[in-house]
């Protein structure tokens, strides 16, 4: 059974190997002349503003919720798409109702202005 997953295992270890080799070889072979400016985290060339541990705005949470909901939706749309011909119009209407309910949620969020950036 797990023999048929051998390609995935190989892919996993090749990915791990390439990533590890890149970091490891750079660590072993690359010259290191550290200075205060080089040690700074790179943002976009200008001096850093604050730390990464800054508190984020709650506005992002609504975006994350919407992502979660559409993620779940995609979980159910995928088998529906596979079975689309077999299910016919019944499946079409079924998914239409499903998407319509979730669309109501999206419209609600948009009307509330929860996705607007100030």
């Amino acid at each position: 059974m797990s023999e048929s997953y051998l390609p995935i295992f190989i892919l996993f270890f090749v990915t791990l190997g390439i990533g590890g080799a890149m970091l490891g070889l750079a660590y072993v072979l690359g010259p290191r002349k550290p200075s205060a400016i080089k040690e700074m985290p790179f943002e976009f060339g200008s001096p850093n503003i604050g730390t990464a541990r800054e508190r984020f705005s709650v506005k992002y949470y609504v975006t994350a919720i919407l992502f979660l909901v559409f993620d779940i939706e995609s979980v159910f749309i995928y088998p529906w798409a596979v079975l689309f011909r077999e299910l016919g119009w019944f499946g079409f209407v079924e998914m239409l109702v499903f998407v319509a309910f979730i669309l109501v949620g999206l419209v609600y969020v948009l009307r509330k202005g929860a996705l607007e950036w100030e």
């Binding site: 059974m1 797990s2 023999e3 997953y5 541990r53 800054e54 508190r55 984020f56 705005s57 709650v58 992002y60 949470y61 609504v62 994350a64 919720i65 919407l66 992502f67 979660l68 909901v69 993620d71 779940i72 939706e73 995609s74 979980v75 159910f76 995928y78 088998p79 529906w80 596979v82 079975l83 077999e86 299910l87 499946g91 079924e94 109702v97 499903f98 998407v99 319509a100 309910f101 979730i102 109501v104 949620g105 999206l106 609600y108 969020v109 509330k112 929860a114």
Partner: protein
Amino acid sequence: MDVFVFYAAAAITLLGASMVLVLANPLRAAMALILSLGALSVIYVLLHAQFVAVMQLLVYAGAIIVLFVFVIMLLNLEDPKTRRSWPWVAGVFTIIGGLSYGLARGLMVDDNQFITSGPPHVNALSKDYGTVEQVGREIMTTFVLPFEMLSVLLLVAVVGAVVISKKRL
């Protein structure tokens, strides 16, 4: 081979879950949860539930953990000062080990009703067992009503989350 992979994945699952229980930093606990759920998806593959395994990764690692990490960043929780005491940890894992071992032993008794009753265990699975077609057909035909109710549940979750988390309405 399958059996070996199963026990390895089970060990990683329990390791990750234990780290969720023990690690003080919530962000590290979230990463440990990904480890645990990822190893669990390997077990799903071994149990011929390929589609469930893929969706487990997609939903948990892709969405739910992202939500947890988002909230940890939103609240900017500092590391708690308290340190775990090792007798505490040892006591907790004694409870876990005792309960799971006890139940497993109890189930292995031959005249146990829980195992002997019910349909007989099959020796062969159908060829399309656990595929997208088979599971999807059940969701889309037998479970039409729960499927539609699920969209209502997601709608309620969106509206509820926006109402509760938004400062002014």
